[in-house]
């Protein structure tokens, strides 16, 4: 029987399908079996073989008909359970939505289906995408395939683990303050959070509307380019979706043009200016992470890039600004969960208000409740100016700092997270300690910039380390191309948990 165990990338899967070595149905069956075998990771929340095989059969029909317009035809993927789907339940990792079935598909889900992918199921995540460890899921934590006693990062922890464990070649995730980049770093895979507005938020269960962005997770930058190309694009159902000329340029075409082989006598990265912010290499950064990230930047330098010292002076301020803005928006976004039209309704209550308050207390986990309370507080009478408006002013300063930096460099590089994956339970008692872990990813989110995580080695415990690449608005094709060329020079992204390549 066919086995996809040795297959990693979309290219691997596509080639096997194109060569008729395997049908989409056979491939889907095999991937479903891998998902079942890896149940211990707790990456998948909802799997439905009938739904998956129906999509696979449709893909086989297209393959038989010689359809060439679908770049991801027959490729198995899975969605973070933040994206609503018609068939699979959509829970956002919350008890509140434990049995929720959406009557419509998210735009991202529609687009990836239109590109030919076969959905294998829905992936675990922190409740409403709030968290950095995936321990806030109502359906239990996700294990890191590199060390099952450790967290995979969050909030897109299930998406990261499913790729890292080799179950599917690519998954979707979302990033509000680092939720694509940080789990990618902690599980040794590649992910990109695009420019705010590139990927439609329609059908993404909202956490913080001005920060949320969907994006792909995969082993390679090339696969990320393929999947992001299919996910991104103007959507009239999302008022913040971009329809500018810059946004209309195809990510895949831009990426392909950038990687097209041409003689580079002065090195692969000649002419590329990399800004390294001093604030990303301070005492909180673990030595292993610092070393690996520096080595990665040195690789770019060795192949012709110029390294520039830059400053992002408000890096640390991104934490309080983010933890005002994101909870403020979340407190309002989560008000629709009142137990009336959908979602959990308490069994016992005194009256209408008590029904709502009890249902919400029972349906939301502790971290979600903390953020709702924080957000309600910072928006409440007498505090709005001091917290919310002040945070939005700091947000502008942070965005301006990035623009100043991009005057002297093309990309900014540094660590994704201060440490590698920690043990499950190690930090869950101290919410603020967890918030501080987001220091290097929050600024990018506040500014709406694209940011990537690219595998760049391991710490002394063989836990993956991620290199963060930050580009200016709409620079995704160039960022993906730079990461791709880095991945031609290294093999960190091809390492497999449990040893071997």
């Amino acid at each position: 029987m066919f086995s996809s165990l040795a297959m990693r990338t979309i290219t691997d899967f596509s080639r096997a399908l194109a060569a008729k070595q395997v049908s989409a149905v056979e491939l889907a069956t095999d991937v479903l079996a891998k998902a079942t075998a890896a149940k211990g990771l707790n990456a998948f929340l909802h799997v439905d073989a009938d739904l998956t095989l129906a999509e696979a059969r449709a893909a086989d029909k297209h393959i038989a008909a010689g359809v060439t317009s679908k770049p991801l035809l027959g490729v198995p993927i899975a969605h973070k359970d933040i994206f609503v789907t018609r068939g699979w339940r959509s829970t956002a990792g919350s008890k509140m939505l434990a049995n929720y079935v959406s009557p419509f598909d998210a735009t991202v889900v529609e687009r990836l289906r239109a590109a030919g992918t076969v959905c294998v199921g829905k992936l675990n995540c922190d409740e409403f995408a709030m968290g950095s460890s995936n321990e806030n899921s109502a359906f239990g934590p996700v294990q890191n395939p590199w060390d099952t006693g450790r967290i995979p990062g969050g909030s897109s922890g299930g998406s990261a683990a499913a790729v890292a464990a080799g179950i599917v070649p690519a998954t979707t995730g979302t990033d509000t303050g680092g939720s694509l980049r940080q789990p990618a770093a902690m599980t040794g895979i590649t992910a990109i959070k695009p420019t705010y507005g590139r990927v439609s938020r329609y059908g993404m269960i909202a956490f913080a509307s001005s920060l949320d962005q969907g994006g792909p997770m995969a082993h390679t930058a090339e696969d990320c380019a393929l999947v992001l190309d299919a996910m991104a694009g103007f959507d009239e159902r999302d008022s913040t979706s971009l329809d500018s000329e810059k946004a209309k340029v195809s990510i895949w075409q831009g990426f392909s043009a950038q990687i097209a082989s041409k003689p580079r006598p002065n090195g692969e990265f000649a002419g590329l200016r990399i800004g390294v912010p001093e604030e990303f290499f301070t005492e909180g950064l673990s030595a292993d992470v610092s070393t690996r990230v520096t080595e990665a930047i040195d690789t770019f330098k060795k192949h012709g890039a110029t390294v520039v010292d830059i400053s992002l002076p408000r890096t640390a301020l991104a934490i309080p600004a983010y933890y005002v803005i994101a909870p403020a928006e979340a407190s309002s976004n989560l008000s629709r969960f009142d137990g009336i039209r959908f979602g959990h309704r308490a069994a016992h209550y005194a009256d209408l208000n008590d029904m709502i308050a009890t249902s919400r207390a029972e349906g939301f986990g502790r971290e979600v409740q903390r953020r709702i309370l924080t957000g309600t507080y910072v928006l409440s009478h007498g505090y709005y100016d001091a917290y919310y408006l002040q945070a939005q002013r700091v947000r502008r300063l942070i965005a301006q700092d990035f623009q100043t930096a991009f005057k002297s460099c093309d990309f900014i590089m540094g660590p994704v997270a201060p440490t590698t994956a920690w043990k499950i339970g190690e930090k869950s008692s101290d919410p603020v300690a967890m918030y501080l872990e987001d220091i290097f990813t929050l600024g990018v989110s506040l500014a709406g910039l694209p940011g990537m995580s690219v595998p760049c080695g391991f710490d002394h415990q063989k836990l993956p380390v991620g290199l963060q690449i930050i580009g200016n608005y709409f620079e995704e094709p160039a960022m993906l191309a730079a990461a791709h060329r880095y991945q031609q020079l290294t093999d960190w992204h091809l390492q497999i948990p449990g040893g071997g390549k």
Binding site: F83, T240, D338
Partner: protein, 493 residues
């Protein structure tokens, strides 16, 4: 010492768009519950708002209409904000509204104070007008399940323009005049169907009382007023309540009160007792609403073309100045575009009888419409037909009493509502032939010697009986003026 009454009005005007403000669900009224609530209106997880262009154009129209067509009160950049509160008919747990930067700031509405020919104009300034979405409805009757309310979200997301006046009205009558004038404007410029029964035009009144010269008193907001009559009653009740409360040594508490039409009283709303903290903040799902000069000028051009930039205020003035009508008549004729159009049609076919046309439209036609409970648009007698009836009064063919009779036949649809055909067919021509009238008078005088004697002995009233007899003998067709004149002449002989 007397009390001064201070009233400000907040009006929720349902904009006459086809689809909702942030979703493409229909706004049609009366559909089965939740069949016109889309996934966006139900706030299902993952849904997002997308703004309706027409609602913005309607807001621009309103801004132009309440500012003599000037554009400076229309915000070039306004912000949608979330007003956060929990209520079962508010699906998102917040209402998308405008707070700090509304789409219209300022403007005014002129109202007529007093009645008849002594009426004067008073200007009521507007604070602002902003765009927002309507909520759904809670239903408490007709449910099988005990102890519950039903939620219908068909209305959720219907576009509203909330228009806030300055607290410049000083009586319930002024408040009603303002509400009627505003109703006239929004229906005139075609942004609202004006149907108060269906909730398309809803007024909340902020009422307080004070001694003249003192600072503003504590106000109460009266909600749930769905007719002009109830608005007047509710305010009058509330004013009495507040004055009695203060005179008894009590204090007015700022609260929201509901008008109960059956009991003709206001009472405090239980659900609104908590001090509300709405936690307004800019809606991150919606970028700032930009309105540029081209959009405003295009809208203005369309309004000029359609004659709607000619708002009630200026048409009213035209009726007073050029048609020599009273302020009172002019106000009634500009209560809606339909009335104004009817007047101009009648004026043209009547041989330019402005005052007579105004009397007929504001009098017989309006009361007949009222009796039958129909709108002017559905009237069986149109302006042109009414004008041709008026023409026959003006030329003496009909007495006003006979004209009323003809109007009755027109209303019933006789001869296609053609006055001349009815006059001809029913022989309703007024008798103006002096000889014929004199002959009748001679007859009557011969038969009523007692009345003649009384009149001659100085009893002026006695002539009325004689006139009555003459009219009766002519079967009502004699011209009453002529009868009077000829009779006096004969009696003086």
């Amino acid at each position: 010492m007397t009390w001064e009454i201070v009233i400000g009005i907040e009006t929720h005007v349902q904009l006459a768009t086809r689809s909702k403000i942030f979703s493409s669900a229909s706004t049609a009224f009366g559909a089965p519950p939740n069949t016109q609530a889309s996934v966006v209106d139900l706030a299902l997880p993952g849904t997002l708002p997308v703004m309706n262009k027409q609602a913005v154009e309607f807001a621009i129209k309103f801004g132009l209409a309440v500012n003599d067509g000037q554009t400076h009160n229309i915000a070039r950049r306004s912000i949608f904000a979330r007003k956060n509160y929990f209520y079962p008919d508010l699906p998102k747990g917040y209402q998308i509204s405008q707070f700090e930067l509304p789409v219209v700031t300022g403007g005014f509405v002129d109202i007529q104070v007093g009645e008849g020919d002594t009426a004067t104009t008073k200007r009521i300034n507007l604070t602002r007008a902003h765009l927002e979405e309507d909520a759904g409805k809670s239903l408490h009757e007709g449910l099988e399940t005990p102890g519950v309310s039903g939620i219908d979200l068909n209305r959720a997301g219907t576009p509203l323009l909330e228009i806030v006046s300055e607290p410049e009205m000083r009586s319930a009558a002024e408040a009603v005049a303002y509400a009627k004038a505003l109703h006239g404007i929004v229906t005139w410029i075609g942004i609202c169907d004006g149907n108060m029964q269906e909730g398309s035009f809803r007024c909340d009144a902020n009422v307080s009382v004070r001694k003249p010269g003192e600072p503003l008193g504590t106000r109460c907001e009266i909600k749930n007023v769905n007719s002009f009559r109830f608005l007047e009653r509710a305010i009058n009740y509330e004013v009495r309540r507040q004055i009695e409360l203060i005179e008894d040594g009590g204090k007015v508490i700022q609260q929201t009160r509901l008008y109960d039409a059956d009991r003709d009283e206001t009472r405090a709303m239980r659900s609104k007792e908590d001090a509300m903290d709405y936690r307004y903040f800019p809606d991150p799902d919606l970028l700032p609403l930009a309105i540029n000069e081209t959009q405003i000028e295009t809208t203005r051009g369309l309004m000029l073309r359609d004659g709607v930039i000619d708002v009630p205020g200026s048409t009213r003035q035209q009726l007073i100045d050029a048609y020599d009508l009273s302020v009172y008549d002019a106000q009634l004729l500009t209560q809606s575009r339909a009335f104004a159009t009817c007047f101009f049609a009648a004026y043209n076919s009547s041989g330019e009888q402005a005052k007579l046309c105004a009397n007929w439209i504001n009098g017989d036609l309006a009361s007949q419409l009222n009796r039958d409970g129909i709108e002017l648009a559905d009237s069986p007698v149109n302006g042109d037909q009414l004008g041709r009836l008026v023409k026959r009064i003006a030329d003496g063919t009909l007495s006003s009493k006979m004209a009323k009779e003809v109007f009755g036949y027109m209303w019933a649809g006789e001869h296609g509502g053609d006055a001349d055909a009815i006059i001809e067919a029913r022989g309703l021509k007024q008798v103006t032939d002096t000889g014929a009238i004199e002959k009748i008078i001679d007859d009557v005088l011969a038969k009523n010697e007692k009345s003649v004697a009384e009149f001659k002995s100085g009893k002026e009233k006695a002539i009325q009986a004689l006139i009555g007899q003459v009219m009766k003998a002519s079967q009502g067709k004699a011209n009453p003026g002529q009868v009077n004149e000829l009779l006096r002449k004969k009696l003086a002989e």
